[in-house]
Subunit: 429 residues, 2 copies
């Protein structure tokens, strides 16, 4: 008996798309066993037909018109690997219109137009899978949506951007300044020529929104996520972190505060003994907390064509199984409406580095500014003397709003010559 | 419209069972949303009806006859939490006979009679889910079977027994001898009064067999797993490991060597910078390697009623969804027949500690024994002098068989007073 074949229409054939095509070809027997059918790439939309591609696909399958792929009656499943919000969004909707389920790796799309897309997928009764949108090859979406159904997750802390983690690792382990570490990352292909999407935290914020949405069962979009990049982290901060027993990481943090969600991306100091502190180089990890499971961490390569392609193929197999069984998988799990907690209302610890005049009474003056803003000091030490006198503070837990008011005041205090650095301190017991 | 209710028959109501009952009750709304139906515990089989239980279930649901639960026409899904091979095995088969899918947390059962049970589940077209059998609340089975369909996993290294990891952590961090660390684990409830299932590696071997089966798509049973416990690990070994830049862990290792599977559980030294080295106390972690994903790690609490219950509930929800859709999930994935590689043919590095006579020529004599057995030495140092003279060796990679022959010879060499310790060294670059 000839086994049934399901045909995939692929939108985009860059690093991930080529890896998907190779993987479907190389592992075709295993995949057929698991999917219950053969999976074949029938049509591929690309921007440039002439670009050479290392894929096991005949040239006749390629087109420059993505609608030709979506509309092809031979295409059973659409695999969207274009990136960016448009035309990806319209193409996904067009696929649902034509009764075709979709697998996507597109974090920008899911984190901005998720509601619209999931509403359309629910209305059409069709799968929309997106494992590859966060954490590359690390299984995250499925474990959170399916395995952890029995848990109410309270917090997610992720290192979800490999580029910035690579840069911070080089700064930490080799004492490099930010610019040198970034240049090294660019030479090695870990950072792009224009690194701003990574360095400014946009990429991490999109992933943070997706993680928050699935962890807390309510829609969070990228614009809801407070965001600060790593450009201002200095070698000095890295060294003071080390002395304080911390490591600096760019974290994506989503937490539940009552019924409100707080979501933010920023560099932070975390204790050197925390499992996330050991996540080095371009690796990613997502740490979950909940009352039943306690602590859970998923760790692996967060990017790269091959790793990401395994996530896409895992989704394709599930969608194919569902199609054949005439059913669909777990749909949108954003059952609830929750509001976003303003950043001002966050409560946390802070590290602040001030260049100050070196004379008696300075600490008292600064301490009084913290004090009347209700920010209490956990530790302080002086670093350098005379012209180079600096004070390194770590606060106890305080309101973000109160802390920022204290900082504004400090900028106008004569003895404070410069507010050199501010970093949040996270994951303390 | 009244929502459909699926009824669960639970076999066993100990720590995990009570936690499952509480969780199904507490989270009933979320669970109903995800399952597409209500989940209710209709019948529970227990050994002792009079034992008080903190569960939200009326006394009329309890029985001492498990067949009453399996045979109850009101029971749609059987949840097996008895542990042990029998009567659990017969009850699972009886459930399939009656057309009921099964969720189990039973590692002994799955790792010894897996083939028979999965054959029966396939023949009946019914789900057999077992997420809770390995790693407590850490999602492992589903990510490996479903998310990683697109990967050929080459190696699995797990810390899958919380008790022994707790003991080794105390030995490492406080310098306690084994007996004291074990006594502490017993006082804190991490180890049982009879700790042998944990300490001798039986528990880890069962989990190793399950992980090997799903990672390599071929049946591996507990008896296929080479096994050594941690009873002979000394404080001295822990200290020498530290000086060598290693940490001692009880590892469950499964690897693919060509078409053969090697599976083993034993204490081993791993580099202090390896992600598994940071897995402390009673935590578990499973580290996967593959050509596409590179390295992947799942980390969390490997035991405890609440954590394990989340895994059981995740499975119950999936099975319920499948029942309602009239389909089943991914069945047995042991598609292949593979043989087990004998331990003798393993290749690895070794640490060996010898008490020796303290005089010139001793090292030459010992080195020649290693040499003619084709074991080459990476490092050696002398520890103590005179009566207390010891030599600490680390070898380069060598065949297990060759190394063991060298050790047998060394036991008969006059200058060697005692072979004090042998440990494998793993996860070196």
């Amino acid at each position: 008996m000839r086994q049934r074949t399901l045909r995939v229409g692929m939108l985009g054939c860059g690093t991930v798309g080529s890896a998907v095509a190779r993987l479907l070809d190389e592992h075709r027997e295993e995949i057929a066993r698991r999917a219950g059918c053969r999976l074949e790439i029938a049509r591929v939309a690309v921007r440039d037909l002439d670009r050479p591609r290392a894929v096991p696909l005949g040239g006749d399958r390629f087109t420059t018109d993505p609608m030709e792929v979506v509309g092809d009656p031979d295409v059973d499943i659409v695999c969207e690997l274009l990136g960016g919000v448009e035309p990806a969004g319209s193409l996904v909707l067009a696929a649902f219109d034509r009764g075709k389920p979709v697998v996507t790796a597109n974090k920008e799309l899911v984190s901005t137009r998720g509601r619209e897309l999931f509403d359309a997928s629910d209305a059409a009764g069709l799968d929309l899978y997106f494992e590859a949108s966060v954490g590359g090859g690390i299984p995250l979406i499925r474990p959170i949506k399916e395995s952890l159904t029995g848990e109410r997750i309270s917090r997610v802390i992720g290192i979800v951007n490999g580029t910035t983690n690579y840069v911070l690792t080089r700064m930490t382990e080799e004492g490099l300044p930010f610019a040198d570490a970034l240049a090294q990352a660019q030479r090695l292909g870990y950072a792009e020529a224009d690194p701003s999407a990574d360095v400014e935290g946009h990429d991490a914020a999109a992933k943070c929104a997706i993680l928050a949405s699935i962890a807390f069962n309510a829609r969070v979009v990228a614009g809801d996520v407070f965001r600060e990049g790593i450009r201002r982290v200095t070698s000095e901060d890295v060294e003071f972190a080390r002395r304080l027993g911390y490591v600096i990481k760019l974290l994506a943090i989503a937490e539940l505060d009552g019924e409100r969600i707080a979501a933010r991306v920023h560099p932070a100091m975390i204790p050197a003994a925390h499992p996330l502190a050991a996540v080095r180089d371009a690796f990613n990890a997502v740490f979950l907390e909940g009352p039943k499971i306690g602590e859970l961490m998923f760790y692996g390569r967060g990017a790269g064509g091959d790793a990401t392609a395994t996530a896409v193929v895992g989704d394709l197999v599930s969608v194919a199984r569902n199609l054949i069984a005439g059913t669909r998988g777990v749909g949108c799990t954003c059952f609830l409406e929750r509001t976003i907690r303003p950043m001002d209302e966050m409560e946390g610890q802070y590290y602040i580095l001030l260049r100050v005049e070196d004379r008696p009474g300075v600490l008292a003056e600064i301490a009084s500014v913290f004090g009347h803003n209700r920010v209490s000091i956990k530790s302080v030490w002086q670093e350098g003397t005379g012209e180079d006198a600096q004070l390194v503070f770590v606060t106890h837990r305080a309101r973000e709003g109160a802390f920022q008011r204290a900082v504004s005041e400090l900028r106008n205090v004569k003895v404070v010559e410069e507010v050199r650095s501010i970093l949040r301190v996270e994951a303390e017991e």
